[in-house]
């Protein structure tokens, strides 16, 4: 008889029990996927922090991963900023996911990208920033730019997602969360400050919990 599982469940049910690794669900936005929320240290996408996404190949599922949260933000009239997306985000698909397109701003060039992100975050209005940093010739993203974004994220109250191009070398991580996205929608938490790293989490389309307005954790 396997006794670990019931004990684990019993302990998990108790709110008054402090268990090393677990943290209070902090200042986070629900990801829209219960399976993922449980694994993230704050119980969702951390506000005011940098989240790094390393897709195995472009389009491995990074937008699918973010869309439920972004859609919820735009429904609450919080603008979402896309910085230098490498392809055209399809408006029909975004609208189908529930994103309010009037609240989506797209900065098409890399040139003013970081300035724009800073301004947005500083305004206190911004819901989230999703950036696709371009590497230089050797495909390395400068850690200065990333550091700058992280500082801006701390000033704002919004999560900043960085989607590195497949094959690029991300700088030494400053982020509190780094996720790898494998083809077929598997997610692996590579680094999680105050949380645990995991093996692959499978996210299916049917795994998505539709967010009702107001259900997201404040």
């Amino acid at each position: 008889m396997n006794v670990t599982t019931p004990l684990e469940r019993l302990l998990a049910e108790r709110d008054d029990l402090w268990r090393g690794r677990r943290r209070r669900p902090g200042n986070a936005l629900a990801t829209g996927r219960a399976a993922l929320d449980r694994r993230l240290p704050d119980g969702g996408w951390p506000r005011g922090k940098l989240v790094e996404l390393l897709p195995e190949r472009f389009g491995a599922g990074e937008l699918d991963l973010l869309l439920p949260c972004l859609a919820e933000l735009t429904r609450r009239e919080r603008p979402v900023l896309f910085i230098a997306p490498p392809m055209v985000p399809c408006p029909q698909s975004l609208a189908r996911a529930g994103l309010d397109l009037t609240r989506l701003l797209i900065v098409r060039e890399q040139k003013h990208a970081f300035w724009a992100a800073e301004q947005c975050l500083k305004s206190g209005l911004c819901g989230a920033v999703v950036a696709w940093p371009h590497g230089d010739k050797s495909n390395t993203v400068s850690d200065r730019a990333v550091r700058r974004l992280q500082l801006a994220a701390e000033n704002g109250d919004a999560p900043v997602f960085l989607c590195y191009a497949p094959g690029s070398t991300p700088p030494a991580s400053l982020a509190s969360l780094r996720l790898a996205i494998r083809c077929g929608g598997h997610i692996e938490i590579l680094r999680s400050r105050g949380g645990e790293t995991t093996g692959a989490i499978r996210l299916h389309a049917d795994n998505v919990v539709p967010l009702v307005p107001g259900s997201a954790r404040a």
Partner: protein, 474 residues
Amino acid sequence: MPAGALWTGIICPQGALQAVLRLLPAMAPETPMALHDTASGRARIIEINQAARARGVHPGQALADALAIAPDLESLPRDRKAEARLLEELAMIAYRYSHQVAITGDGVVLETGGSRRLHGDLDAMLGALEEELSTMGLHASLGTAPVPAAACLLARTGQHVTAVETLRGTLSGWPLRRLALAPAELQKLDGLGLKSVRDVLALPRFERERRLGRTLNRYLDQIHGREQTPLVYWQPPETFCQLLELPVPTIRSEALLFALNRVLEHLHQWLRVRDRALSGIEIELLPEDRRPKIELSAGLGQPGFQRDRLLEILRLKLESTRLSSAIASLRVRADSSIEQRPPQADLWTGTNVNDAWPALIDRLVARIGEDGLCSIAPCPDHRPEKAWTWTAPGTTTTGADTPPRPNWLLPEPRPCRTGELRLIDGPERIEAGWWDGQDCRRDYWTAHDRHGNRLWVFREYKPRDGWFVHGLFG
């Protein structure tokens, strides 16, 4: 003359000097400043500041003499356009207190009797007016009289008189040179041995008219309130257009911003007087050597007037504009203005999110440009490559419901090999475009490649034959 009418005159002592100095960045008060005018080939000092007076410079002196006395004297040429603008500015401020405002030669008169009750009493009203003038950086003096012609005279001495009898008593003791008379006329009166207003009034009316002409009699009647003063009432202009010549041509954007700030002040007054909200302004920078002018325009997502926000937008615009030669003058036009509506704050949070969002867009657009920052909108077209468009930031349209689309579209469909694909879902037949000559017939499929990525591919039959990738799910 209607009973209870009261006129207040505003004049700027040393208005010509003030008008010019307003265009320059602030100078230390100990700098001796003067203004000279060229008449019959000779430059003469006309107005000076306190520091210059201390050095022994006085008005009427030849410029060369003044410079010999005070070599560090900064003398500027007279600028009649700037003087006219200063009077306009005074009138604009005065218009907020009365609808009867007129520009008289060197000052502005406004009817204050009718607006007295609105502001409590005359003193409170004049206090408010004085405060507003000083916040605009104008040194002005006010005077009140029951007749408009006398109001400007009393403004010079800063007296306030409400009854006609008192006015007559005050004026009778005045020396004649205080009246606004032509120098030739003053000389003639002086030659007759007449020194004060009382002396002139002591003469029989008929004799005065025979010897000195009808004009003097009429003027005396006007200032004593026996005759109506003809006034041309000033009206605020319908559109705002101001040409500002910079005292020194400059290439520095801070200096341009300083000048623009001055214009914005004027613009703000104009908007307030006309009760309008600003939705955009256009600025032309005119270089000194007749090079092509540089045009800037700044739109405001949310109509209104916040000087800080507007200045920041202009700063961003100027920073991104390359100035190749010095700018000699600039023209500001605000023809797109709409009716003013007071800003509304959110009832629950008290913060004005509705206002902050357009402000953020304005700031971003000012730096990045219309092309760099946008939103995306669906277009009513069946061909996926034509079913989306970039739109102005913060605007979009709603599209008709379509079958599921991938999250990412390739800018152009790319040919692909079918050997590596596994078709999962489809086909969706799209056959459209016969009306614009770009007709196509395609079958769209969802496919997996060998890595497990979900792709959006199509088999095209027309105009080309083959397989193409058009998008990526994920």
